[in-house]
Amino acid sequence: MFRLLHSEWFRLRKRAMPWLLLGIFLGVVLLIYLLMWFVLGSNATTTTGELSHTQLRDTLRVGAVDDSGLQRVQQFGLVFTVILVASVIATEFSWGTIRTILPRSSGRVAFLTAKLIVAVAFAAVVVVAGFAVSLAASAAVTWAESLDSSLGNDFWLYSLAGMGRVLFVMLPFVAMAAMVSLWTRSSAAGIGVTLGVMFLEPVIMSVVSAAGGFLAHLPELFFMKNVNAVLDFRQAGGREGGIFGESTNLPNAWQAASVLLAYTAAFCGLTYWRFLKHDIQVA
């Protein structure tokens, strides 16, 4: 198992794709901060979308990185992680390398587990690196705009917990991307389906909610509400507002975590079942 993990990591770090994805992701995070800084400096009175000038100042200050900063890390980091996970799984089939490496492996369970662990490790790197870049960018803006530079109580503890929550809410999507790309043996399908769910779910959720009756409760089983509930989870004696600053109409955080965990387990179960039960055709 450890050998397969080592081999997987060796192959991944020798590949340009993860570095490119990570680079682009960090660039996007940086760009968002630069844009918000530009907006902040260009007009001090009007609003930008839903963010008022005051909110924008609050969002950009270094002490808010564990809230709004991590929100951006979750939103964009998830997209790049899904792309990588789908590619790591499906390219074994499209390149035919599965027939080279699998007979040398200590079993299919170990092979797939190594892949999934590396996928989660990449997601963790994305979250930590995204947080670090957000922190650096926010610190620069805070210094340049003379914003409130206090970190608040237990900033690092909240940041750590926030990163853990962000990583946790990414897991169902990582598992879904792995499942779809393995079943279809296509990275495009894995990416398309997972990102499709991510972006279409809010639309479906609003339609279903509007229907009323028991359908109005259905979104509690959807990803978005549960993701928001977990991200909005307040530590005991914690600060005002979670990452999304939205605590109304959200399910209980533990219930939400259970739903997301159930999704992750179901997707992983189906992935393992498929991989263990199905033949790997040579040509």
Binding site: A16, W95, R99, D279, I280
Partner: protein, 335 residues
């Protein structure tokens, strides 16, 4: 050679399992054994009760027309496809003791040849870096070992495949069309390498469409058709069975009757007025004596040695399209 079942094995055959037994390195020891190996894809039976045995120190040819089940069998041996029924035994731990190239070599395109071998070595474990270097040297890839695999020619890819196959010094080497894409010099190198692998104590299972290649490098051969064993045995025995003595003589029908009286004559065919006497070529003097004693004198007599290609085509009915295997050819079943 049909592999006999040992007591109690029939019950295990239905399990569809792969087991490993202690790795032998002595010539004559078995490194691969399949018993009643069967694979069904829905209604299609791709492999049907195949019994196969490969000995250490021997090159075993594995032949069959396209779609006959060769790759499916090899994939089952490698654990890529689960058998529907049957049993596979390989010498030693399968991931270390079996090296294989199936169809064309497949490696990570972004990695160099050396890094591809390293990734495999890490996955298997306990493969020293020096082994990778020596294999790269051995297959003639030293100059391009740091280049990305995607930039390799087909021949270089095939060489890397051979190196990967030998990475763990396996007891069993499975080569599926190993000379595909190689230039004549490369083909000659691989042809020289195959017997060397066997001489070093390995068992080699060679699947190839190049029957001339198989005839020259293989000690034994197994021929399958539509997933079923058609024939298996020593190459020289198979070739001898297809060999005949061509006899040109007047009164062919009378001569045929006389020759069929001789012991050791399996059959006599009349082809365009020429008698094809299927018997040991050493029986030429007896044939001459038999005919001459009845007043029939030879116009010509030549020895015809069959090729593996002729034997293969006859056994698989390839020339006859959908024809059945030759009558009398053994088609053993799982039980």
């Amino acid at each position: 050679m049909t592999v006999p079942l040992r007591p109690g094995e029939a019950a295990r055959i239905a399990a569809g399992s792969v087991v490993a037994f202690p790795r032998p390195r002595l010539s004559g020891s078995c490194v691969l054994r399949t018993l009643g190996l069967t694979k069904r894809f829905g209604d299609l039976t791709a492999v049907d009760g195949l019994n196969l045995e490969v000995q250490a120190g021997q090159v075993h040819g594995f032949l069959g027309p396209n779609g006959s089940g060769k790759s499916t069998t090899i994939s089952m041996i490698l654990g890529l496809i689960a058998p529907t029924a049957g049993h596979i035994e390989v010498a030693g731990e399968p991931r270390r003791s079996v090296g294989a190239i199936i169809e064309s070599p497949a490696f990570y395109p972004h990695l160099s040849g050396r890094d591809n071998l390293r990734a495999l070595a890490i996955a298997v474990g306990d493969v020293p870096l020096a082994r990778i270097d020596s294999l790269i040297e051995e297959v003639g890839l030293a100059e391009r070992s740091h280049g990305a695999y995607r930039t390799y020619s087909l021949g270089m890819k095939q060489r890397l495949g051979v190196a990967a196959t030998l990475l763990t010094d396996p007891a069993l080497v499975i080569l599926d069309e190993p000379t595909n894409g190689l230039d004549p010099a490369g083909q000659a190198e691989i042809r020289a390498l195959i017997p060397r692998l066997a001489h070093e104590g390995r068992g080699v299972l060679l699947a190839s469409h190049l029957l001339n290649e198989v005839q020259h490098v293989c000690d034994e051969v197994t021929i399958i058709r539509r997933g079923r064993l058609v024939e298996t045995g020593r190459v020289r025995d198979l070739l001898q069975r297809g060999s005949y003595v061509a006899v040109e003589v007047a009164a062919a029908a009378e001569a045929r009757s006389l020759l069929l009286e001789l012991s050791g004559v399996e059959r006599v065919d009349v082809v365009d007025g020429t008698l094809h006497v299927f018997a040991d070529a050493q029986r030429g003097p007896e044939i001459t004596r038999q005919l001459a004693s009845h007043g029939l004198y030879l116009a010509a007599m030549t020895k015809h040695e069959s090729t593996l290609e002729e034997v293969f085509l006859e056994l698989t009915g390839e020339t006859a399209g959908e024809a059945s295997p030759r009558e009398g050819a053994r088609v053993p079943t799982a039980s």
